[in-house]
Amino acid sequence: MHIDQQKCVACGNCVAICPMGAISIDSVKNRAYVNADECVECYTCFRGMSMERLNPTLVRGIRRLLKIFRLRFDPEPDVCPTSAIAPDELTWPRVVRRAFSDPVVTHESTGVHGRGTEEVKTNDVTNRVGVGEVGYVVEFGRPTVGVRFRDIEKMTRALAQMGIEFEPKNPVTHMMTDKKSGKIRDDVLNEKILSAIVEFKTRIENVPAVLHRVDEVSKTLDTVVAVGVSTRCDESGGSALDTVLSGEGFSFVRGKTNLGLGRVSL
């Protein structure tokens, strides 16, 4: 992403919008600019901001005039007045940033929008997580902190040492050169993304060991890690995970509840 220097009027609206804090105002040039190393190509500024198509010279003139008379204009905070935000053509490996940061982009590897798979949201149809099994979604960089693949690799390597088999349809698994060791391809390790999810499943008796390992490794990473676990319920809607998680000292309030209304054929 870049800011068109001919169009930018340095209103500063886009500065607060950027989830990564990658946009700043150059006080000498009086224009906004994007720090390319911090930008994760999430398109929040380009897609999320509304646009006017005002003449930049006119807007700069009005802003100067208001400044002279010490008048303050209170513009809408999510508007770029001159449509100065412009996407770049992305090439490998930078294109990976957008694939993992812009939720509107569909991952080629999964066919799903966003950063993971369908998890247990379609479990009533896929039976991906069966009775006695637990699915994990370990998400890096959320909320709004960001992560580089080298940090994700520390976790995937640690999990691989426990004999974890990663979900084959997950986009991070797709980035691995060796799924047995959790090795992620070298050319993306320094790429920064908004977030990524590692997915796998184990038997329910392995939950304590896996969660404690995730907790340990998370402390060594330069980001935050959000963890979700899922399971199939019994006929009365009960979940064996309640006892396991409570026993391990995890508190849980929020979650997703699959109502079992899906059918294999519509």
Binding site: K219, V227, F250, L266
Partner: protein, 222 residues
Amino acid sequence: MTNTLHRYGSSDSFNDDYIVFAIPARGINDKDSVEKQRRFLEIARKHHPVNMGDASHGAIFRPSKELNPTVHWRRELAPDFDTVVNCVSCPSTVAAVFNDPDHVVAFIKELKKAGLGLSINISAALDKAQECARRAGLERHSVEYSLGFFGQTDRMADRQTLELATMCGHGMLSFNFVRKLVEWVKQGRRSPQQASATLARFCSCGVFNPARACRLFEEAKK
């Protein structure tokens, strides 16, 4: 995509936060799902949702690429339900957000009758979601728990900012922008409704809850 799983807040904070979504399973029942997704949204609309969206095409609050300068004095805040329903064109996740469990129960009962065959999930406090399911005559099939945040949690924002920012789980709401709007509401420069609509426009999936956001902005004013 765990974009609604890790919302931040206490159990009470989720009393007015229920997301019901429909999703086809890729390669299994996604063929001919478009009409079912549209039907889901049409049914949802009858039950007073506070937001609604299609992950591929946007929500009832959306940005505009052709504004004129009057927008700075008179911004349209009315939700656009028709565009969401009419724009569904490919297999995707469609969602409706409610702030009242009675509306959720009525919606699920009607979905059950409609027999769409898509997977239907409720993202909410787990006990409240189970209660809604039971009131609608269903037992839950599978459940996913949010265990919260691990690692460098000191890099996260304060509670108030997180409660608002995590309502877009894809991270489209920056902490700085949320703080800016909280300050503007406190200063009387924007109303809670205006600030909520502004945030909602950044959530293209339509899972942001403007009613909860309004309440949180009102609380911030006190």
